[in-house]
């Protein structure tokens, strides 16, 4: 899902997974490298690395005069933030020369370099034309970033880099127990509403599902549809549903679902969440017609005040720029708790990182590449990114003290409130066909064509079929 990263250069901040078109673009570039890398062999001999002496001030042992080559995906966020980090790098390693490239087609430009074993030192591997990660991983083209994670952070020598990152970032970059990529941006999912609208009507954001249902009755009585959703892409409704389920069932539920365990989808948590959304539909709390609306259409209807809530990720605010009227001031809240005995707290959110940085293992200046990431992921660099891009970086506290727009501020607050309880499902990235099965089932559920039990049955069947399929590579968490 989110790991799919920015699907195309023209889409700045959508870690979305909504379009076949974009999916195609991603896989399309996957192939070229495959042949190249796999055949180029994967001997582990270290490149003629230029490393200096390690010290407290230079924990990664960067050779001061070693040149550094940085390749940045120049998409919706631009590449000024990366240049800013380069300036910081030069401030520290004064003799270094930096070769900066801001490009759109990372795969096209770098594939030959990987084949020739002369890759750059650090790469922002993002966008429609990115390199395929799985291939790079299997061809052993990526440096293990453990050393970087355990190094002291740039701003605070007392804290390891690992501990400055938001929850899940390290997991998102882990392949077979090795951390090989580091994602720079962070996305949170929740329910969105207009703060002034709620204030003027005296509606309080619900903390529990019962409160939600009660509030929906009030909203409906006021002549507004309580919910709408991006019906053309039912996956949007999966996010709150699965978030609720994970909150009920906790870590165990996440694991059993992602590991394709038998009867995982029939767990109480999932059943209860499916029932909740079936009830939302049964009570007529979803705006009629939503089921056929695209994301933009439903979001526009919501901005026009035709519906009170809409589920979405943190990119919604920038997507609705120009559509949301002045003073709409959208904010995001966490999905309400289903029961009082949920395994996770009410503030828990689904979140994940994207925009992935890699340090090629055959790079001339591996230490420099990691040092660059240490600087890029520092608070001061991340802060300048948040300001210019209007998107949360994956660094904890990066937006502290900044004046943020209502939406961005609310997502920041949601992450802070969630603390360690920020989680994500992996099956969407690991097993796309299962994701499709869940999407279809959820579409049926919230359109009253399937009951919660039928929903669980069909998804379980799809998961079982996948588990049995020896042709599909399995992952575990």
């Amino acid at each position: 899902m989110v790991q799919v990263m920015n699907p195309s250069p023209s889409l700045p901040n959508y870690p979305s997974r909504r379009s076949v078109l974009k999916g195609a673009a991603g896989v399309a570039i996957a192939a070229p490298l495959l042949s190249a890398c796999v055949t180029s062999g994967s001997n582990d001999d270290k490149p003629a690395a230029s490393t200096g002496d390690k010290s407290a001030d230079n924990p990664l042992g960067v050779k001061d005069d070693a040149p550094l080559e940085v390749v940045i995906f120049k998409g919706g966020y631009g590449d000024d933030y990366a240049k800013h980090a380069e300036d910081l790098y030069k401030g520290k390693h004064t003799k270094a020369t930096i070769d900066h490239k801001g490009i759109q087609k990372v795969g096209e430009a770098l594939q030959p370099r990987f084949v020739a074993n002369t890759p750059p030192d650090v790469v922002d591997n993002t966008g429609a034309g990115r390199l395929d990660l799985a291939t790079l991983v299997s061809a052993k083209q990526l440096s293990d970033l453990t050393e970087l994670l355990d190094a002291p952070s740039f701003d605070d020598p007392g804290t390891k880099v690992r501990d400055t990152l938001l929850p899940g970032v390290v997991d998102d970059g882990t392949f077979d127990k090795q951390v090989l990529t580091l994602n720079f941006t962070y996305t949170v999912w929740g329910l969105w509403y207009s703060k002034p609208l709620f204030a003027s009507k005296g509606w309080a954001y619900p903390k529990t599902w019962d409160e939600m249902l009660a509030l929906c009755a009030t909203i409906k009585a006021a002549g507004i549809a309580p919910w709408t959703y991006q019906g053309k892409y039912p996956e949007y409704m999966n996010d709150p549903l699965l978030t609720m389920a994970a909150k009920i069932g906790g870590e165990a539920l996440l694991k059993s679902v992602d590991n394709l365990e038998p009867n995982a989808w029939k767990a109480d948590g999932l059943k209860a969440a499916a029932e909740a959304f079936a009830e939302l539909a049964a009570k007529g709390y979803i705006m009629s017609g939503s089921e056929a609306l695209s994301h933009t259409e439903s979001q526009a209807a919501w901005c026009q005040g035709k519906a009170a809530f809409i589920p979405c990720g943190s990119w919604l605010e920038s997507e609705q720029k120009g559509v949301a009227p002045n003073g709409f001031d959208m904010v995001m809240g966490p999905v309400p708790s289903r029961t009082g005995s949920d395994k996770m707290g009410g503030a828990a959110v689904q979140a994940a990182s994207s925009e992935s940085y890699i340090v090629p293992s055959k790079a001339k200046n591996v230490a420099g590449g990691m040092e660059y990431l240490r600087i890029l992921f520092s608070k001061q660099s991340a802060k300048s990114f948040a300001q210019s891009a209007g998107t949360l970086p994956a660094v904890a506290g990066a937006t502290d003290g900044l004046t943020l727009s209502s939406g961005l501020g609310s997502t920041r607050d949601a992450i802070t409130a969630a603390g360690k309880e920020a989680f994500s499902f992996k099956f969407r990235t690991w097993y796309a066909p299962l994701a499709k099965a869940v999407d279809d089932a959820t579409g049926e559920l919230v359109n009253k064509r399937a009951t919660a039990a039928e929903w669980a049955d069909r998804v379980q069947k799809a998961a079982d079929a996948l588990a049995k399929d020896s042709g599909v590579k399995k992952y575990t968490r």
Partner: protein
């Protein structure tokens, strides 16, 4: 001269043949081989799996949905389109005095009717997506304005309406073209036949049935083949317009979409190729059947 002849022939044929073999024939040939492997796009990792992919097709409920939908489209789209095209062409000529000449405004009609055929199906699909919008689309807007608000629907989101809605778009986009095609065929019927019919005192309708229809049969047959092939596709419209796409819940899934998703989203290139081969045989069967049927009819006529 002999030498010049050979050189000219080589020069004329070879470039096109190279292109043809490279980009057309070799991909088709490779597809047959790939369909017997489990290739995922990784070089050197294709394993021969025999008929495994084909066996799997039978258990893929989404693919079976696609086959069912394509089969329905294969019957409905050509029949409705050709029926409508013939009806309109006959209207055009019925109005004329001798069963052949058009009614007033024929030229304008023929130009306007042709328009949708000129547009990419993608553009047509984008347009109709707005028309079908349940809340502010043209169709429901028209129904409500006409006081038929109760007939307004979520056209693309109701499982039993979505496929008809898709087929309607396909018919809309090509009916006018076939109307022009048929009326051109009618135009090319020798004038004497109509005059003879007129002299016999045949009505316009009888003329159409007895003279026109038999003589445009060949054209209709060609139309069936082309429309059939188009109905086996349907990819662009479904992919752009429908819920999911291909939904709700597989209601508008087509083979092309399944193939595309499996290949380019799931990376199951071998399996997707098996779908392509299945589609190939479906198309081939269709073409052979249609041409056979045509031949038989012609024999009966003779």
């Amino acid at each position: 001269m002999k030498h010049g002849r050979l050189r000219f022939l080589v020069g004329a044929l070879v470039p096109a043949l190279v292109l043809h073999v490279l980009f057309v024939l070799s991909p088709y040939a490779q597809a047959f081989y790939l369909s017997l492997t489990d290739w995922t796009g990784v070089a050197g990792e294709a394993h021969f799996v025999g008929a495994g992919n084909y066996a799997r097709l039978g258990g893929d409920s989404l693919f079976l949905d696609a086959v069912r939908n394509n089969a329905i489209m294969l019957v409905v789209v050509p029949v409705v389109t050709i029926g409508l095209g013939l009806f309109l062409a006959s209207m055009l000529h019925l109005g004329g005095r001798d069963g052949r000449r058009g009614i007033a405004g024929t030229r304008v009609y023929q130009i306007v009717y042709f328009f949708p055929q000129l547009l990419s199906l993608v553009i047509v699909a984008v347009l109709w997506q707005f028309i079908y919008n349940p809340n502010n689309g043209l169709l429901n807007g028209a129904l409500r304005a006409a006081g038929l608000g109760s007939a307004a629907r979520s056209w693309l989101a109701e499982p039993n309406l979505a496929l008809p809605a898709v087929m309607a778009v396909l018919v809309w986009s090509s009916a006018g073209f076939y109307m022009v095609l048929f009326s051109a065929a009618i135009d090319s019927i020798p004038k004497e036949l109509f005059e003879a019919a007129l002299l016999d005192g045949a009505s316009g309708w009888a003329t159409f049935r007895k003279v026109t229809l038999p003589l445009v049969r060949d054209t209709v047959q060609v139309a069936f083949v082309y429309l059939g092939i188009a109905a086996l596709d349907g990819f662009a419209v479904v992919q752009v317009m429908t819920v999911g796409p291909g939904g709700p819940d597989g209601a508008t899934e087509v083979i092309g979409l399944s193939l595309y998703r499996n290949a380019f989203t799931y990376g199951k290139f071998g399996y997707a190729s098996a779908m392509g081969v299945a589609l190939f045989f479906a198309t081939l069967t269709l073409a052979v059947l249609a041409l056979r049927a045509g031949r038989k009819e012609r024999v009966e006529l003779a």
